[in-house]
Assembly symmetry: C2
């Protein structure tokens, strides 16, 4: 089954909001064997929405529409869908009751909230457990169109609980299987050269894609066909060949975020960890703590942005700071060891660098970032020297710090 | 001038990568008076790319294409553009020299790298200062098509330095001005009711949009027309009316992130700040340190994920923790005061809560998060009680913490 996604809202076109819904929907549809051919974002204008709807309904069997279902005047999706499916809005008691439940005691019901209970007559209305906007499922000429709210948490909840199970029940879904490999140390072009002959012999049902990401490259294999077992065997066979070519450069056959891979490893080894961050400013801690259950191994961290905090809380010696500077191998090692001592943990990650855009010198230009990973008596350090702007320098340093810790745990077992 | 954006890459459709390029491009084009009507994401397939190109070139004057310019086999954009514009690929010395410069000593040049120096004959080639993929500017039938790399940092650099200045030089660009207002405390429907009569009297050239965001609502006014002064006067007039209706609920007339607003305020007041985070796990620190120059006011922070770290590093009394629990008003106040003392700062923000998905109790269900803001002797606290999943609970708590600190600085001046 093929699908398209249409996201509606001026805010997407003027760049006030990044469309994260499409990627999430694409990922989930793939998992149930629905292939997304196109994503279209249009403004809150009747004729532009209709134009996008008409083209999509011609090309594919399933169209997922998000956005434009709020209570305010700029949200026109329901009206447009009524015109498109030649129907009208009618009051729906169940939707009204749901809106009252959701608003609860927080606010009293006004006319705008009530207008959300008006739904197109010719559609199946699906309950929105976590929001006030109704979900509409239309069927016409063997095609399906589903209209969902644009608020990500509402959309993901309703898709997971209501829409994906319905789609799974619809027969004739093809099979799509992905396998993703995380490769470190190799730039894209060198990696491509290394695996060129393997890539050349891949069967037609398997497609390869490269996804470079600040310090790592994800390799994605996608198999498409009707028989899941055949596809799975094929993928396993090609994965084994790839692994034997890449050896140590292949970090893991997973597209899990590094913070999950590291968390799993720490749990398996029964180790605890802390962070000591200067230029990454808490973003490594934020990534580690984004994983539920991280309290099992993560105890906490110190964001030592100023040198005084490095001295006071991490016991970095002022002598090191003045002799070597805050951006130095000696400083990050001292920071990591300080964190291990202060937070009484088995391992620690530390970063210190010049994230930019200012603060660079001839010796230490913007983008110079030192990283240390310590595990008991063992340690690894890395000097990152590439400037792609503050946000990407920090993100790359966080990736490298997590990778360095993983590498230390692989090689440095006591 | 009207534009469309086409982003190319399987990874966008299967949801492995979120398309952040479109929002950035939309925002920047708006600033130079170019209105984006549509964003289309398509797979790396010749016929699908051509179909998207043809439709877009019919509808608008400018098409920005990103992605599919890498050195590997799955990247086919250049070839497709050659077919579309009826031209062929030729070797370009300047592009080759640039690729050699970019790769530098990191890796040696291979055939894949060299293939990036092949460019369409019928286009203006623009140098990519920060990457190996060439930028192609096509003109045909009074329409412009620009092909850019999909790597965000390369795309944004080239757009800023090369493409936007060229577009600004092209006459007949209309004017678009946005003003955004950050409103707190009011749910969308209540806010809409409050400003309904004002909204009803807005002139045709001004459009209003609501952008709800976890604890705040952004109101965006967009004025379109030919005369910038007229538009600006109109916007000012309507902004004043809006401000008088909203009063204290209107936090600031800016769409700056809260961390910039807070940073500016701290700089103006000459104050320093620290963070003490439990459930937000470093994400407040990461947001504050995402702003260049934050070292002027941000000294550092402690991520006190475990209770022992709250006791050891923030001097939270074990008596409070056992009597009131880690998720309590008393604990977050003690955490903030501990951070002020340990990091020797004027202000501190603290959080402690149950981010989820597990760990809730009857008294303190998942989503219960206590927040404290302290400034010298003064303090404000807030109990957040809404569960929208771990990531959104944390993001909302970070928003509320930054808002609470802003409020304290407004009302609690010593």
């Amino acid at each position: 089954m093929f699908a398209e996604i249409i996201t509606i809202g001026d805010e997407l076109l003027i760049g006030q909001v990044v469309d994260t819904n499409s990627a999430w929907i694409g990922h989930e549809l793939n998992n149930v064997g629905v292939e997304v051919l196109r994503v279209t974002s249009v403004r809150d204008r009747q004729n532009e929405i209709v134009d996008a709807l008409e083209s999509a309904m011609k090309r594919v069997d399933l169209v997922i529409v998000t956005g434009g279902l709020g209570p305010t005047k700029d949200d026109i999706t329901k009206k447009v869908l009524c015109d498109y499916f030649d129907t009208k809005l009618i009051f729906n008691d169940a939707v009204y009751a749901n809106i009252k439940r959701i608003l609860g005691n927080r606010i009293s019901m006004n006319d705008l909230n009530k207008s959300q209970a008006m739904v197109p007559e010719k559609c199946t209305v699906i309950n929105n457990r976590v929001g006030t906007a109704p979900i509409c499922w239309f069927e016409a000429n063997n095609k399906i169109l589903v209209s969902l709210p644009g608020v990500p948490q509402e959309m993901t909840t309703v898709m997971s609980e209501e829409i994906l199970p319905r789609l799974k029940n619809i027969a004739s879904l093809g099979n799509i299987i992905h396998r993703t490999f995380l490769v470190k140390n190799l730039p894209e072009s060198i990696l491509a050269e290394k695996i060129a002959s393997w890539e050349g012999q891949l069967p037609d049902s398997i497609k390869l894609a490269y996804l470079p990401k600040l310090g790592i490259v994800l390799l994605r294999l996608t198999a498409r066909g009707t028989d899941e077992n055949v596809l799975s065997d094929l993928l396993n066979e090609e994965s084994l060949k790839l692994k034997s070519i890449l050896g140590k450069d292949l970090l893991i056959d997973s597209d899990s975020p590094l913070e999950i891979i590291l968390g799993d490893k720490l749990k398996n080894l029964g180790l605890s960890i802390a962070t000591a961050e200067s230029c990454t400013g808490g973003s490594i801690a934020a990534r580690i703590t984004s994983i539920p259950g991280c309290s099992e191994y993560y105890k906490g961290g110190i964001v030592a942005y100023s040198n005084q905090v490095k001295i006071d809380l991490l016991e970095v010696s002022p002598a090191i700071l003045s002799a070597k500077g805050a951006v130095s191998e000696e400083t990050v090692i001292a920071m990591a060891k300080g964190a291990m001592k202060q937070l009484n943990v088995d391992c620690a990650i530390a970063t210190s660098g010049i994230a930019g855009p200012d603060g660079g010198t001839v010796d230490k230009p913007v983008g110079t970032i030192w990283i240390a990973a310590c595990y008991k008596e063992k340690q690894l350090t890395l000097k990152q020297e590439i400037n792609r702007g503050r946000a990407m320098n920090v993100e790359r340093a966080a990736n490298n710090a997590l990778l360095l810790m993983l590498e230390l745990l692989e090689t440095g077992k006591n």
